[in-house]
């Protein structure tokens, strides 16, 4: 008889080691196990369920370095009760953690390829582990391009790290919807950057994260550039509750986003994304 699936449903206590301000409403938290053990191995693109007593539990992508096992890092934007409580957690306070869950970016399958990463808003957080992985193995990949879109310059994530990424031969391009004079990067939607990048589309793979409407237009622009649909991967967000495919809250067509996703190939998802209200 198969053993009951208890551990994935069991919340482990972690302590907030650091809580760093990224923007006015976004924080990056480093969490360490209370028993001093290393965190479980995880892969870029996976998420954890974070629980704050009295507030609730939400899925949050891991945004740290996958090579580090002494802590687990999450970047959280305060948009609701639970995320606000996580953002307010002080160093030393406890947060419940379950995971890691879900599928990962297939970055290891695409060595020798050109890599295009497209992030909108907080979507840069789940792509940051990919950047760590690429930087640790930079020679294994061809051209790497990171396109970042945000509403305004003041809500851009990881601005201080972009310099470091550029130094590692990553073509980082940033665009915002609105800016005041003095802004040196682009103004316009992130889709407008796609025709401008240098890209050998026959060797390209793309990872896209952001709200679904953004991913829809980004995928269109990438296909127009010649990136094959089966080499387009997106990270989906749905109402994930149990995180192990039991409750069905996050079902999209035949897929449970928590278990089969959040990272899915676009060609696999496309027929379901076209159906409204699914």
């Amino acid at each position: 008889m198969e053993a009951p699936l208890i551990e994935p449903m069991l919340t482990a206590p972690f302590r907030v080691r650091k809580n760093r301000k990224e923007t006015a409403d976004t924080r990056t938290l480093e969490l360490a196990s209370t028993n001093g053990e290393d965190v479980k191995a995880w892969r870029p693109g996976q998420f954890m369920m974070l629980y704050v007593f009295g507030a609730g539990e939400i899925p949050i992508s891991i945004s740290g370095d996958p090579a580090r096992r002494d802590n687990i890092t999450h970047t959280v934007r305060a948009v609701g009760d639970v995320s606000r409580a996580i953002c307010q957690a002080k160093p030393g306070s406890a947060i419940g953690v379950r995971g890691p869950f879900g599928s990962a970016w297939p970055i290891d399958q695409f060595e020798e390829h050109e890599v295009v990463l497209v992030a909108g808003g907080i979507g840069l957080a789940p792509l940051r582990p990919v950047l760590y992985r690429i930087m640790a193995n930079r020679g294994r990949y061809g051209r790497v391009c990171l396109l970042v879109g945000a509403r305004t310059p003041d809500i851009l994530l990881y601005r201080s790290e972009m310099y470091r990424w550029r130094k590692r031969d990553i073509d980082v391009r940033v665009t915002v919807d609105a800016a005041a004079p003095g802004w040196q990067d682009s103004v316009g939607p992130v889709t407008a950057l796609i025709p401008r990048i240098e890209l050998d589309s026959s060797r390209a793979v793309a990872f896209v994260v952001g709200p679904e409407i953004m991913m829809h237009f980004v995928v269109q622009a990438l296909v127009q550039r010649g990136v094959p649909p089966d080499r387009l991967f997106v990270s989906m967000e749905r109402n994930m509750k149990c995180a192990v495919g039991f409750c069905g809250h996050c079902q999209l067509g035949p897929a449970f986003i928590c278990k089969d996703g959040p990272v899915l190939s676009y060609s696999q998802l496309e027929p379901w994304l076209a159906i409204r209200n699914v």
Binding site: V79, G80, A178, P181, V187, P189, G210
Partner: protein, 155 residues
Amino acid sequence: MQKDIDALLAEHQFFKEMGDAYRTLIAGCGKNVSFDTGQLLAKTDDPANEFFAIRHGRVSIELHSPERGPLILQTVEAGDILGWSWLFPPYRWTFDLRAIEQVRAISFDGECLRGKCERDPAMGYDFMKRFAQVFMKRLQAARLQLLDLYGSAPH
């Protein structure tokens, strides 16, 4: 050796796959220009007698608000075309265009080009189809900017 205008146009995205004869005819209305960082390429309400094929650098399309100062609406860069006020009366710029870094471009005399398009409707049609794509892309970009594409759902 400095390239002539026709050779520069052949390398520009906007003129890609345009017939040599049309491109050479259009090149006759063009000249090389450059702008330093911060310099205006065009100013709102000034006569719009030209448009630009950007070869290098980035330009902001700005609107000056008396209450909020200059607001950047969009940016364009190498490979883009900038300006269509020269096409339609009253031939006046609608926005400010400012170089946000050193810009090199080809500037086209609008009146010269309008004349050539009137005399050769086939070339005019080819040219307008290319401009229509620029309109479409710029409009789509503006619509996406209005959408607040990056907003997140509350948790």
